[in-house]
Symmetry: C2
Subunit: 619 residues, 2 copies
Amino acid sequence: MGTFQGKILEVNLTSGTIGESMVDKDILRKYIGGSGLAAKLFFDCVSLDVEPLSPDNVMYVMAGPLGGTAMPGGSRFSVCAKSPLTTMWGESSCGGTFAAWLRSAGYDGIAIKGASAKPVCLVIQDGKAEIKDAADLWGKGTYDTIDTLREQNGGKTKASVLSIGQAGENQVRYAAIANEKRDFLGRTGMGAVMGSKKLKAIVAIGTGKVDAAVPDVFAEKRKQFTENAKGHFIVDIVKAGGTNGALDIGAMMGDLPGKNWVMGDMSAYGPKIGGGVLNSEQFLTGTDQCHGCLVNCKRVVKKENGSYPLKGTAGPEYEGVASFGSLLMIDDMAAVIKMNEMCNDYGMDVISCGSTIAMVMDCVEQGIIGSGDTDGVEFKWGNIDAVIKTIENIANRQGFGDTLAEGSKRAAEKIGKNASDYAVEVKGMEVPMHDPRAFHSMGLSYATNIRGACHTNDLNYSAEQGILVWPEIGINGGYDQKSSVGKAELTVISQNLGQVINSVPICYLLMSVITSAELVELTNAASGFDYTLEELMTCGERIWMLKRGMNNLMGITAADDTLPKQILTPPPDGAAAGSVPDLKLMLKEFYEIRKLESNGRPGKEKLESLGLGDLAAKL
Amino acid sequence: MGTFQGKILEVNLTSGTIGESMVDKDILRKYIGGSGLAAKLFFDCVSLDVEPLSPDNVMYVMAGPLGGTAMPGGSRFSVCAKSPLTTMWGESSCGGTFAAWLRSAGYDGIAIKGASAKPVCLVIQDGKAEIKDAADLWGKGTYDTIDTLREQNGGKTKASVLSIGQAGENQVRYAAIANEKRDFLGRTGMGAVMGSKKLKAIVAIGTGKVDAAVPDVFAEKRKQFTENAKGHFIVDIVKAGGTNGALDIGAMMGDLPGKNWVMGDMSAYGPKIGGGVLNSEQFLTGTDQCHGCLVNCKRVVKKENGSYPLKGTAGPEYEGVASFGSLLMIDDMAAVIKMNEMCNDYGMDVISCGSTIAMVMDCVEQGIIGSGDTDGVEFKWGNIDAVIKTIENIANRQGFGDTLAEGSKRAAEKIGKNASDYAVEVKGMEVPMHDPRAFHSMGLSYATNIRGACHTNDLNYSAEQGILVWPEIGINGGYDQKSSVGKAELTVISQNLGQVINSVPICYLLMSVITSAELVELTNAASGFDYTLEELMTCGERIWMLKRGMNNLMGITAADDTLPKQILTPPPDGAAAGSVPDLKLMLKEFYEIRKLESNGRPGKEKLESLGLGDLAAKL
């Protein structure tokens, strides 16, 4: 209710107590909101050597100044904690409706400490919160859980549910959290953290009005932005095809990975699992969007499509299609949609899940393991039944699925021999579905991003595509995608901007639509601060450095800033044939620009200039 | 050789004489080059009531100041004359290599008057030209003709051939001209004009250096533009997928016509005939580009693809795929590639050919004609054999094909009843494959463009997509695609710009890459003039008005500024469901802004302000 001022609902599941806190205004200004503010609060109150799945880990659910306003792309939020997948800083963001109803219920964020002895859920309603028994929900998927909780809470329209599925309960290291049955916080295993706390779900019910600090200015700027956005080609394209609409052209550009990153030319998969297929009459029934948005990027699919009936109607995003499609050499769209939904319902990250399965298929092909090691499941490229069975086994930690529930890095270590060569991950997190051999700066993103191999903590992908050009901060456009020259400079700027937009927060897709002036004006009108673009970018750098320093304190060194072998091998054909990112060059420049020391830690002077003297002292 | 100065090779095929002329410098400045300069020369020396297929029609082949330089997209050229399809001003432009070698051979353009009594070809080599017997080539397709002429001329690499096929010889009203076996001047029937003159081919062989007027400035600006262009997303996307690469997303946006424009949602055709299919291993072997370019938009295809072996390797553009694919409800890519090549080899415009066949299929469905009227060919949606047989019949003017060789308008009039309702043409020219119901301004383009229904005499498509935003001339971006408000203003600006870029000329695709400042600087450095952007835009307006006035003198009135019935009927489903352009509104505003009188003619004051007093006097 009202404006964003860092009002945090403080929940202790061990003691069953509930309280509130307010964030200091100076901290708000410096860390904005979202995952930036969560990182600062975490750093100030959690021991960094905490075990991720222990009660001492603290999980933050955090909106930002734009959350719950009618700003398109502004209702994203982050869930943050130490990650069980990477054992360093973890965060996951999505759109959906939760930020809107949490803020409508009177809170800007939630801090969840401790762990309950028995399954519970947290129900927040208009300034009050209650921890309720959730024994009847334990063991259920996210879809049933959300249906039940909506029913129990009167099916209110002004409500939003976060829920884990069986994967979160079973602490699969890449367990996800569902927001309603359509948006998913996939990465870094925040669902496992929730599961370790026996917190099945969070319901936010709000009837209050969410305000900007300067409502009239905000309304005018928002209206103007929305009008402009309506005719923007990115909005038109994403509206028409969804995030999977560009799979076809991505494949032609060498961006779509195939066969655990070994293949080059995957363009034949466009007509099989691309935009036209997902948008065809066989599957599509409509589109949908996050709170306040206008893009309608979400694909609503039929429950009955002939081959694999579904429980719900949320179609896959590009990442899910690639992770279960081309990466595993599966070209049956109905099967891919099914696998994606299974992950949604069990509550698992599609990228980590698909990638871990791809690693095993590769190990089988290489003769590293045989079917005797995999409970008889035939891990062969394109084997749909094996994948469907394995998703179930992972979520329930059954048999060999228990090994795979640990993620590709740990699973490969357990498999032994040279299995780790086929685990395509950085710092324990599986690589998303954009190929750095087609876009070199993505290689540096994956090697150095805050949460491991990740494409949504910077803007490199949009910058390399030339659809985000902000010369005012040094994203000048005109990048040669298959060159590594100048990419370190781009990456530093774009990572800092990435921290800003995960803190404001605003959707990555709309970053190709909004101007920097609009972003500053809207952030100011929403927050009440008078940021300049320069100050916002300094906030971004501060947040990046804080998270990096925390990662260092959790054990990350320069040796971890690397890329998996498969990504450093040139593709045999396709648009990126023969191309590999020059990681050595980019890392050298990156370290110089970032003022990182040879051990991978931020330099003291840099930290102090950003007001991070306390972090410098710990390092 | 040297710089562009309007050095015209004057050929009279009746008398067999060859001469040269130089264009006055003031005219060069005012009409730039390309189709603008050709229109001015035509206006000054041809009687506008000339019969298009008579010896008195004059055909101009015209390069521009950028032609033959290494400027990407700059080596386009135009072939112009009174059109046998529309009986008004006709022009067709393409890229390829001819402009480069013509200029290298010492000429900026060719004027071809009269008609030969027997088949001839024109061979131009380094400042000399010769009319040669071509009896042995008559009756051959463009592919064989080009092969033979290259062989006869020593297979020189610095040579380029223009040729007509059987369709041009037989004066099919939409006959095309091939430049080598890869680029085609399709629209308005320039191939028929060439055929009426018994001119089978033109060969240009040049070893001279093509210069810009200010070579060092040109070289520097060109280099800089090329560097920037390399990383531009439009270049990347077109390079990756070719012009057909966007068919998929176009279909999702409601842009792809189906079943003679009756269908709405054609998104299912993306996976059948879209970018991924054409770029798949089954068909693609490589890419190619026009002289001096870097985009590589051309698709090189396999001669053997299983179903329909080809003679050559030129893959279809988007327009060809849509015209023979979705428009006819054919989803077999191999068949579509074959039909496209048949048109290339016979020398026929793919849009007019596919559209005329679509009209007949619709007439059969409506019961207007039966198979008895079509020589037993079954004109049924999706009937591949019928289309292949009909393309052959049209090119050779055999049986019912002779009727269809007249174009959809005349053919529908001959068929009678209400067949004209199913002829999707404006002023006799068939509508290209972008749906005005998804992009309203395209409706005004089609209704008012200089050569009838045409998408390459303005920039509306790029402007509506938001990929060409030049606020400095009033293309402000942010257009609501399915609104007609403000589209007249856009169209006037974009048509004037269209005349500039067909005169400079530069490729439409690169107009989303180049800035207005770069265009002005490069045009100045190439031509030696000191244009401002404003003066260039005035040239564009002058050229548009001259061509419009000529059209009026050839019989065009306000009643001809209209759209076919199918386009004014809302699509039943898909992204443009229920949408139709408000043509009445747009036309009213267009007439006001253009200062057109109610009879459709430009006002005297406007013409005089543009230095077109002589045109005003004739009107």
